[in-house]
Symmetry: C2
Subunit: 441 residues, 2 copies
Amino acid sequence: MNKTVNVGLLGFGTVGGGTARILLEQEDLLSRRTGTSIRLAKICDKDIISDRGFSVPPGVLTQDLGDILDNPDIDIFVELIGGIEPARSFILQAIKNGKHVVTANKALLATHGYEIFKAAAGAGVEVAFEASVGGGIPVIKALKEGLVANRFHTIMGIMNGTANYILSEMTEKGKEFKEVLSQAQELGYAELDPTYDVEGIDTAHKLAIMATIAFGSPVSLDDVYTEGISRISPMDISFAKDLGYRIKLLAITREQPDGIELRVHPTMVPSDHLLAQVGGAYNAFYLIGDFAGKVLMYGLGAGQRPTGSAVAADVVDIARNIVHGAQRRVDPLGIPFDRLSPLKKAPMDNLSSRYYFRFSVLDRPGVLAKISGILGDQGISIASVVQEGRDRTGSVPIVMLTHEAMEKRVRAALDVIDRLDVVSDATMVIRMEDLHAIEGN
Amino acid sequence: MNKTVNVGLLGFGTVGGGTARILLEQEDLLSRRTGTSIRLAKICDKDIISDRGFSVPPGVLTQDLGDILDNPDIDIFVELIGGIEPARSFILQAIKNGKHVVTANKALLATHGYEIFKAAAGAGVEVAFEASVGGGIPVIKALKEGLVANRFHTIMGIMNGTANYILSEMTEKGKEFKEVLSQAQELGYAELDPTYDVEGIDTAHKLAIMATIAFGSPVSLDDVYTEGISRISPMDISFAKDLGYRIKLLAITREQPDGIELRVHPTMVPSDHLLAQVGGAYNAFYLIGDFAGKVLMYGLGAGQRPTGSAVAADVVDIARNIVHGAQRRVDPLGIPFDRLSPLKKAPMDNLSSRYYFRFSVLDRPGVLAKISGILGDQGISIASVVQEGRDRTGSVPIVMLTHEAMEKRVRAALDVIDRLDVVSDATMVIRMEDLHAIEGN
C-alpha cells in the first residue's frame, strides 16, 4: 500500500501557489494520515515563476505541459488556470491520457461540465472539483457523501465572497456600490473586471454545480435565473434594515412540484437568520435534507490557502482510491453519469414571493395612484408604501412592499410601470425570502 | 459492481428507528446514487416492536442477535443500543466475525475506543461513527477527509443540543435552570436522568472523539476537563447579556506549545460571534485549519432523523468500500492505528483566560476588600466589579471580571475565598473566551 501518487499541477498563480504550498508543506502530514506518499511532481506555468514565497524542489517547475500530460508517471492532473479555453482542451487531453483530474474551474464545469464528465466516465477516471465551490468549505463532499442518504429539499447560500464583502461594507458604512467596489479592487478582494462576481455569474456557476449533484440532473449556467448587485443603492440597504432585513446575494435551488427552481439574485434575508450574519468575504451554504434537516456550512469561499485546502483534499481522495484500486468509488457527480435524469426546470414565471420595489418617479400628483392601479390590475396586493422627500425638479423614490405575488404578474406590471412618463429609472426589485418558512418545509 | 450489501441493525429505539426508516425509505435513492443495493436485512431488538410508524418487510425483525452476528450474509453491523455493556462485547464480537461496524455510541468510543479501534485494525474491518458527534452534521467526515490537508489549530463547538436548549431558554425567558430542565424533560428534549447532557459529559465524549482524529493521539473522557451548566443562574445570564456575552456550553481543544488543551465548560461567548447565535437544540462546530481557516458546521445534533442520516452515510461509505474492495480506505480515526502518537495534554493549570466570578457573600463591611486582597495575592487583576442589592440577613452576589489570569492561580485564590466565613456558597466561575482572538491565530 506504499505506492507514491504523483501530481502534476498546471497554473502557478494564486490558487496554484496555494495548492503547491499545501502539498509541499503538508507532505509529511498527508503521508502520516494516509499511509501514502503524495508527491507534487510537476508544476507547469507558461511564465517562469522563480519565487512564490516558498521553495519548490529542483526539477518540479516546467514550462512544458507535455511534462505532465504526456508523462506516464503523473497520476493526477490539477488544472488551475481557469477560464474555458485552453483549460477545457487540456482537461480532455488529460482524461484521454488516463489521468485523474482535479479542478477549481467552476466556469468550465458550469458550461462544459457534461462533455467533461462524460469523457471521464468513458475513460474511467475521476474529476474532482471541491475547490470550485466554497473555497475551503468541504461542501461538495457533504452533498455527495456526508448527506448522501438525503433527498435535498433546498440548497441556498452566499456563494461569492466579493459580492458579500461589497454588500457588507455598504450595509455597515452606508457607502455607494461603486465606492466599495473600487476599494475592494484596491485591496485585491475584487478583480479588475468584477462582472462575474458582482453580476451573480460566479454564484450561478456554483449553484449549477451544486444543483446537478443534489438533484441528479445536469444543470448549466443558462438554466439559472441570474441578477447581480450592481444596482443596489444605500437607500435599498437602509430601507431593508428598517424593515428588519439584510440584503444578500443569494443562490437558491429547490425541488418544487413544477420542477427545480434555480435562481441567483439580491435577496432580503431576515436579520435574525444565520445567513444574515455572514459578513465580509465569507460564504455560507444551507443544505436542507429530508432526514438531516438544515445543515449550514460556513467559511472562506476564496483565497489561495482555503482553495489549496480543497484541491489537496480532492488529491488525497483520488490518491486513496488509486492505492486501493477503487477509482470512481464515488461518482464525480455523486451519481453514475448514465443515471442522470433530464432537468425539469421550474419556470421563473411561477415563482411566488414577496417583493420590495423602489420606484424612481417624478414628484407629480397622481403617480402613486397610477402605479398602484397597474399593480392592482395584475392582482398584486400592496403591503406597505413609503414615500419620503419632495423634489419638484428631479426624481424621488417610492418604496413599496407587496404581499405574496407571482413573478409573472410582477414582471407584467413593471413592464407597464417602467414605461410611464413619470417613471425616471428602471424599478429596483428585490425579492424577500421567508427563509424560516422555507426551512420549515 | 452490483453486489448487494447487507446491513444488520441492533436496537430499534429512537435512533434505530430513524436509521431503519432512512435505509428503507431511501433504498431506491441510495441504489440510484451508489449503483449498489444496500439492504436492511435484519433489525434486532430484545423487545418485540411491531410498529414504529412505518412498515418493515417480513422476516427482518428478530430478537436473536445471532441472526446478525453469526450470519455470514451480514456485511455491516450497526450498533444503536448505546451504553457500555453489552454494546462493547457485541461490537468486539462483530469485529471478530469480520463484520464492519457502524455506531452512534460516543460514550463507548470515548471510554473503550482504543480497544475497539485496535481490534478493528487487527481484523481489517471498518468502524464508522459519524452519528456519534453532531447528529446529521457530517463533521467527522470533514475532519477526516474534507479538511485532511490541514493541521488543526482549534476545534470548538456547541456539541450538546439539550444543554444548548436549556441555556437558550434561560437566556430568552429569564427562567431558572431547574424549571427549564423539567420543561425540556416533558417535551422529550432531555432525558429523565439528564446528567450526561447537563454536566458536560456527553459533550466531553464528543470532544474526545474529535480531538483523537484532529491530533492523531488517543484522547479519552478522562483527559477532558469537564464542567456542566447546572449551577448557571438567571443572574449569570443577565450579567453576561449586559457585558455583551452569551453563556454557552463550549467544548474546546487546541494545540498549544505545552500540549493539547481539552476542556468543556460554560463559556461567555461574545454576542456578535456566530456561536452565540446558535440557539435551541442546534449544534455548531468550529474547525480551524492552518490552510482552510475557520469552517463552521451547524445543524441538528440529535433526533432520530438527523442521526439516521449520519448512520446511513456511514453505511453507504462502507458499502462503497466493500463493492470496490477498498476496506479501510480511510482509517477509522483518519490515521493508521499504529501511527497514533501518545497524547501530550496541556495542563489545565496553565490555561490563561479572563474570568467571570459570582461570589455569594454575606452583606458585611470589608468583604469586598478581603476577596480583592486574596485575588491580588495570586496576582489576579480585577477588571470590574458589580455589587447590587443589600440583604442584611441573607447572601448577596458580587460579580467580578478579571483581566487575563492563570487557571492555577484562580483555583488557588478560590480555594481560600470559598472557605471564608462571609462566603455563603461556592463561587460561580465562567471563563470568558476571546473567540475572535483564538480564530485570528
